[in-house]
């Protein structure tokens, strides 16, 4: 029984291309041009899912984004799994594999059905809160099973092989929706010369025209669609984006579009030649004007058992027949409140199947389509509605009765009509989701029985999106809006009525208001009348919620879950509000709407992440010497975005050194011979101008007035709160010329800080700052043999009297112009060689050519940390945390309180709090046990025997094993530490042990500083 419901002709499918696909493990056939939904209906599949809460069988209801039931898990392989795909929006391709999302272990018989029965058939709103929340500790257990059996889809457990990306778009006009209004607006705007983007979520553009029975220019409407698309496609200023959903409307007309580029072709993006295609793409559109041409969603009527498979919305019936050549049943009953819905019966009849009756809620329907139905001899039952569907896995009949909508009661005898399909239409709701994303509240209009978008700057609705429904009006409205938005972006253009296509005006009668259909029994006792099929919200549930005191529609939503999750209330929200309004005896506008939120339909994480993943997740910044480090086996450490060598493990006797071994060897090499560090990542800022020196004096705590050209000075920089923010050396290159260095991580922040103060506070100072971090490569040669090594490759006089500690000189190193700075972060004799980065590798390699006889040892950041800590030299951000003043660090020598200008932070350092003597102060810690290396971050107490919670008086900021000293040592901040030298402190650890340490000077090696002066 293949494709039992497929018509032999008609529709926009390609019958010459058969496609095989699998649903819930069974194979079926469809055609190219089908959606998964149309192919399932063609094959007579009634049950596509189990419902979320009650586990009832569910079938396909709609033909577009509003489909609540046919939500599937897609993907043949584990890596290709995609959850929560609407079958109505998924193009069919060869090999497509889909499963029902709900209903574990399977859709026919499942666990939740049992739960439903055990707990009775009555699961009120708040069921999960009431039933499963206690005891709270077990919720985690319940949740796992509830999600598995009733939850939504699952994510893949294997890496996704596809690539995704983002693209930035700019345009004058973004038009969302390529139905009659969108096409008409696009054409008018594009013809005026505006840059236009037209996007549409469906497999092909055309919207309602794809299943319309109306004529444009005396020809089928799709011919006009083709003509318009042809013209738009030929324009340089127009971008057409089919299969692209506008998901989110953000502030300032920033709209995100989700384009599915290859989802209709295969599980994974195909390769064209050797070129792998991008699977989906997120367009980040910045539009001057947005046109909302999203049309309207049909509202189903809310009657008893309206969720049994075989209940569809009327428009979907027409769409399946006219677009896909599929009649989803044999005998139809249509329950309607308006003329437009009659299309379903006419299309059904023309497809050669039986229309049992049209049940119209109006007294005296009149209009062209009503006349047509009458002339075909179709039975029309007026002032009535389907009050209940019969059947279990498929509709078997419709109970029809005369109703009184105003009194909300059944007013006549019930007649049961045998049928297998019930189509219903309670009117149309403009698709206003995007406008609501901005926070704008929609407005109710009684004349169209629907909400229209509220005012949003830069957004104009067109056509059905604001309740304009007759086709000729829609096309004219689209053209008017196209002209208006073109003028809004500054294009001088006028409406041209003669350019509009000819559409015969159709006479439609007035629709009537009907949402929930009354039943003979009260709502609470009647069979379930579903409002939100995806979240299993019933009319009784809403009634109960209002009875339990939830009066705000936002509270009703949260209590019942109406319009939650991926559904976002497309089919059910207005009906739900109408029911709440009835129960609360208010009008619909008084009840108001809930807020629709992005995303309109689910977006894959791939599209959200784009290209920002794996090795492109974050920039990796490399120095000019990176290749050498890689080739010499360096382990790397992330410092900001930089990759810095951490240590260089050697392989000794076939065994690779541990980090501890490598660092010990590197430390000793520097203390005893000579080591070399790539220090290129330090921030460097070139400062020029007659007021450069004055400026330095204002941003540093110490004095700069007398620093002579050729000299270097260490400086501390505070924020205005007096807390240390950065440190580094600054060299005087010329009277008006300085080179500032910053910490690696602080470089960009310091430059911004300097610019901020210059531009906002001291614009009168003549000074400019420029980053030269990347221009210079810096290599630190340090250790007792540093001078001997450098002398072999430089023309600079390295004599200790000529080139003193804290001097800088220029000359060449290895034939390359270089500035060499005698500054030391290790406490040893040290030269920092700066050369233009393009020549750094040559200089570095030349140093190694000459360095062999001195055992020149490359070292990384870990050794650098140990060596500087042995000297008590701080690292900003490790030994400080934004709450440490220069005085806390014991650096009074670097503070110029008597400088003439009040430098940044000076005032804060005179506050009573910063003057306290019991502030946490920077000290050294020597563990009593020489084998102990304290934990960084460990808390310090004075009395280990006090009761918990103990009074914590400080913490360890840096801690290492010192190969030179042969014991562990640490830097720390301790309350009043400067006055507590020699005292013992205690460090209680998580495992119960308590370490003892003595407070000592933070300078552990060479306290007099003789080694760096040699």
């Amino acid at each position: 029984m293949s494709q039992v419901n497929r018509l032999s002709q008609g529709g926009r499918i390609d019958r010459s291309h058969t496609v095989k696909f699998t649903f819930n493990g069974k194979s079926y056939e469809g055609y190219v041009g089908d959606t998964l939904a149309s192919a399932l209906l063609a094959n007579g599949i009634d049950v596509v899912n189990r419902s979320f809460k009650y586990s009832r069988p569910r079938g396909i209801v709609a033909a577009g984004a509003e489909e609540p039931n046919a939500v599937v898990q897609l993907g043949a392989s584990e890596a290709a799994q995609v959850p929560n795909v609407r079958a109505t929006q998924q193009g069919l391709y060869e090999g497509l594999t889909a499963r029902s999302t709900n209903g574990w272990p399977n859709v026919q018989r499942d666990l939740m059905g049992m739960v439903g029965k055990l707990s009775g058939t009555f699961m009120p709103p708040g069921f999960y809160y009431k039933t499963f929340m206690a005891p709270a500790s077990l919720w985690m257990t319940y949740e796992k099973y509830i999600r598995k059996s009733a939850g939504l889809g699952r994510s893949p457990t294997e890496p996704d092989p596809d690539s995704y990306d983002h693209i930035n778009q700019h345009c004058d006009v973004l038009i969302v929706g390529a139905g009659p209004a969108g096409l008409s607006a696009a054409l008018t705007a594009a013809r005026s010369g505006a840059r236009v983007i037209l996007c549409d979520e469906q497999e092909e553009m055309g919207g309602s025209l794809l299943d319309s029975r109306e004529l444009i220019d005396d020809a089928p409407a799709v011919q006009w669609v083709d003509r318009v698309l042809n013209e738009l496609g030929g324009m340089q200023t127009v971008t057409l984006l089919p299969r692209t959903t506008a998901n989110g409307y953000h502030d300032h007309n920033f709209v995100t579009l989700h384009e599915r580029r290859t989802e209709h072709l295969a599980d994974s993006a195909p390769t064209v030649g050797s070129r792998r295609q991008v699977r989906s793409r997120l367009h980040r559109v910045r539009a001057k004007q947005v046109v909302l041409a999203t049309g309207a969603h049909e509202r189903p009527l809310v009657y008893a058992n309206n969720d049994v498979p075989g209940n569809l919305i009327a428009g979907a019936v027409s769409a399946y027949i006219r677009r896909y050549g599929v009649v989803p049943g044999r005998k139809l009953v249509l329950s309607a409140t308006n003329d437009h819905a009659y299309r379903a019966a006419l299309d059904w009849h023309e497809a050669g199947r039986e229309v049992v009756a049209i049940v119209d809620a109006r007294d005296n329907p009149r209009g062209d389509l009503v006349d047509k139905a009458q002339s075909l001899g179709i039975r029309i039952i007026t002032q009535s509605a389907v009050i209940e569907a019969k059947g279990a896995d498929r509709v078997s009949g419709a109970r029809v009765a005369r109703i009184d909508a105003k009194l909300f009661k059944v007013a006549g005898k019930v007649e049961e009509l045998a049928c297998d399909t019930i189509a219903s239409s309670g009117g149309y709701s403009p698709v206003i989701h995007l406008a609501s994303h901005t926070g704008s509240r929609p407005t109710w209009r009684d004349d169209i029985l629907g909400f229209v978008p509220g005012e949003v700057k830069g957004l104009t609705p067109a056509g059905g999106a604001h309740g304009v429904y007759p086709l000729n009006d829609v096309i004219r409205d689209g053209a008017d809006v196209g002209t208006r938005v073109a003028r809004a972006v500054g294009i001088d253009t006028a409406a041209d009525a003669s350019a509009l296509p000819q559409v015969a005006a159709r006479q439609d009668g007035q629709a009537c208001a009907l949402y929930q259909v009354p039943h003979e029994k009260q709502t609470m006792r009647a069979p379930k009348q579903f409002v939100d099929l995806q979240n299993d919200v019933t009319a009784a549930g809403i009634e109960l919620a209002t009875r339990e005191g939830f009066e705000s529609i936002e509270h009703v939503k949260r209590y019942t879950a109406m319009g939650f999750g991926t559904d976002q209330g497309k089919l059910g929200n207005i009906n739900g509000m109408a029911i709440a309004a009835r129960c609360l005896k208010r009008s619909i506008p008084e009840v108001g709407t809930t807020v629709f939120r992005p995303n309109y339909t689910p977006v894959t994480f791939g599209a959200i992440v784009g290209r920002h993943c794996r090795e492109l997740f974050d920039p990796e910044r490399y120095t000019a010497l990176h290749q050498w480090h890689v080739e010499h086996g360096a382990e790397f450490e992330d410092v900001g975005q930089w990759k810095r060598p951490w240590y260089f493990p050697r392989t000794v006797n076939g065994k690779k050194e541990s980090m501890h071994e490598a660092v010990a060897r590197e430390c000793l090499a520097v203390r005893e011979r000579v080591g070399i560090l790539d220090a290129s990542t330090l921030g460097k800022i070139d400062i020029q101008g007659p007021d450069a020196r004055e400026f330095l004096g204002r941003v540093y705590t110490n004095k700069w007035a007398k620093l002579a050209p050729g000299r270097v000075r260490y400086g501390l920089m505070c924020k205005d709160d007096g807390m240390l923010m950065d440190d580094g050396t600054t060299s005087c290159l010329g009277e008006n010329h300085f080179l500032m260095t910053t910490t690696t991580g602080g470089a960009a922040g310091v430059l911004e800080w300097l610019e901020l103060w210059h531009q906002t506070e001291w614009p009168d100072l003549q000074v400019y700052f420029n980053s030269v971090t990347d221009h210079w490569a810096t290599m630190t040669v340090t250790g007792p043999d540093a001078r001997k090594l450098l002398a072999e490759v430089t023309d600079i006089d390295l004599d200790k009297e000529q080139f003193k500690f804290m001097d800088w000189r220029e000359g060449t190193v290895a034939g390359v112009p270089a500035r060499v700075f005698r500054i030391s972060f290790t406490g040893e004799l040290a030269f920092e060689i700066n050369v233009q980065a393009n020549y750094a590798m040559h200089v570095w390699k030349t140093l190694f050519d000459h360095g062999e006889k001195y055992d020149l040892t490359p070292y990384g950041t870990e050794t650098m940390h140990v060596l500087r800590a042995e000297k008590g030299l701080i690292i900003v951000g490790q030994d400080t945390d934004g709450s440490v003043t220069p005085e806390d660090l014991g650096m009074q020598w670097a503070i110029g309180y008597d400088k003439p200008f009040s430098w940044i932070g000076k005032r804060a350092l005179s506050r009573s709090d910063t003057r306290r003597t019991d502030r946490k102060q920077f000290v050294g810690l020597k563990p009593k046990d020489p084998k102990v290396v304290l934990e960084e971050g460990a808390q310090i107490v004075f009395d280990p025997k006090q009761s918990i919670p103990m009074v914590m008086v400080g913490h360890v900021t840096s801690s290492y094993y010192s190969p030179s000293l042969g014991h562990g040592f640490a830097l720390a901040v301790v309350r009043g530490g400067h006055e507590r030298m020699g005292e013992t402190v205690y460090l209680p650890m998580v495992d119960g042990t308590v370490h003892e340490a003595e407070i000592v000077s933070p300078v552990f090696v060479d306290p007099k500083g003789e080694r760096q002066h040699v």
Binding site: I167, R276, V278, P619, H626, Q688, D774, P817, M841
Partner: protein
Amino acid sequence: MSDVREFNTRPSGSPGAESPLAWSFQRQGTPPREARPGVTLREKAFLGHLILRGGAIVLDEAVRETLGLALPARPNALVQDAAGERSIQWLAPDEWLVIVPGGEEFTLESQLRQVLGQAHCSIVNVSGGQTVLTLRGENARDVLMKSTPYDVHPQAFPVGKGVSTVFAKASVVLRRPAEDTWELVIRRSFADYCYRWLLDAAAEYGVIVER
């Protein structure tokens, strides 16, 4: 301005130089040749890059005299000599980027300082810190759209425009020196990231790297 220390960082001999992309070319290699690549990349390495900061009027006189080019006064404007070898680009109200053939930058800096005399300005050589990458091909603009939020439509980004902007998660100077050519001025330390990003983003169009 003798109070500023001039320093020629380019060696007179010819020790091996490595451009910011040397390691990327070595590690990543270049993509295989394609008959009809949608995007073609090429590095213009070892050029002279100077950042000029100061008042527009004095700098304009100085660059006219030394370089024979007018200082672009309009924001985001780019001027070049006839051969396209020397260019000046507006970066900020008091900041311009000058790019000249490699080796000319120090002479130009000295000449500029002489002409400028005691006028307050700054001239900074950043030749080692950045490199130029050109993008050509029918999909060059698509790749840029994937990478930068700036509007690169020909209507919004005509020839002779240049901007500082975001590029993926880095920042670049983006300019359009000719109808079919885009240039990215990228910082040395971000060069590898930008290169890998470009190859990845251009893969669907076919990409080659000219060396």
